[in-house]
Assembly symmetry: C2
Homo-oligomer: 213 residues x 2
């Protein structure tokens, strides 16, 4: 028996043995957004030691969660189909943890990958399907995301592009998503800064992305 084995024959213990190590599910989360290179993963995971990242990648590969794929002279890591099946786990954890997020601390960062998954977590496809297709461009610190909502589909990509509403937000956008702060109040208090487009669209954004606290 491996030292870090749980000694039980059940689904959860098996899952914990495969992806329960520290950092593992965060690597999976970032790869849920798309394939990533080693250095991209390292950049998105602040403070992960490179030896730990290397060790986790090997373990997750051995577990059948991800694979190394050569892409024209560089190597990227991508989830296997089985690894992608962790999405419900990651989203459920994200939804639960969202409710316990306090105020951001100084050194805490928001990465494009973490924001993308947080938006996916909060996305209400049934609400969105009743609204017209809308593209938002959000600037969160130094990361910029193009958020396209069309029917029940959500697509989040880095960078900008044609958007109906362009806004800049800090970590306090959480209070908009949780419903703690209404859209007009968010604008009035400067939590959200509308850079272009009708500010009224922010209310639609808040309806589309909502996660009660």
């Amino acid at each position: 028996m491996a030292a870090r084995d749980y000694g039980q024959y059940s689904g959860i213990t098996r899952a914990m043995e495969l992806v329960g190590e520290r950092w593992a599910l965060l690597i999976v989360r970032d790869l849920l957004v798309g394939p990533r290179r080693y250095s991209e993963l390292a950049a998105g995971l602040p403070r992960i030691p490179s030896n730990i990242l290397a060790a986790r990648l090997k373990e997750l590969q051995a577990a059948g969660v991800l694979r190394r794929a050569p892409r024209s002279r560089v190597i990227v890591y991508e989830l296997t189909p089985y690894g992608r099946e962790l999405e419900p786990v990651v989203l459920a954890l994200g939804a639960w943890g969202f409710k316990a997020m306090g105020e951001p601390r100084q050194e805490q960062i928001i990465t494009p990958e973490s924001m993308t998954i947080d938006l996916r977590t909060a996305f209400r496809s049934d609400v969105a399907s009743a609204l017209p297709a809308t593209a938002y461009a959000g600037r969160f610190g130094s990361t910029e995301l193009l958020i396209r909502v069309d029917g029940r589909a959500l697509d989040v990509t880095p960078g900008d592009g044609p958007a109906d509403l362009v806004f800049a937000a800090g970590p306090d956008i959480r209070r908009l998503i949780s419903g703690e702060l209404a859209a007009d109040r968010a604008i009035a208090t400067g939590v959200i800064e509308v850079l272009r487009g009708p500010g009224g669209l922010l209310d639609r954004f808040a309806s589309t992305f909502h996660l009660a606290a």
Copy 2:
């Protein structure tokens, strides 16, 4: 910043900080079945050192996941409402890990709590709602469970009681739940031993509890 902090401001990292430590989610899983005493938790978690169990209970209490509750001279640990909201996380992890369960190893045990959650994971309420109410009594090694299905409701309790079908099964019951083995084959090969009641009911059991691998 705490040493085991992930340095990100996102839902998942917050969740991992609260319940991402080793053993934590297994404690939560057992408490999802019902309140438990310290010694009951220790018994259900083979190989957990007592100092680690004590440390986790304190951390989870500080995180607002569980609380100590005095029950007539003894102390039990029970989930808070917020802790119970981890059920989707635990079930999602269980469903994912179930598919990666290989053959059981000699020293791996099945506890009443782990089996209860595994059954909850595999429970198909929509299938069950179309079937007549049924009570099963299952013996898994030394643990005995009374499994009552009524409409969309599932109730699993330790011990026995009046049941339509009484059977004994080893860890290979996983192959019945995964659909790898049909009910009649499971009986014919001795994977499941029908102790009382019509063996045909095992097919209903397999329809009610199913998780594709």
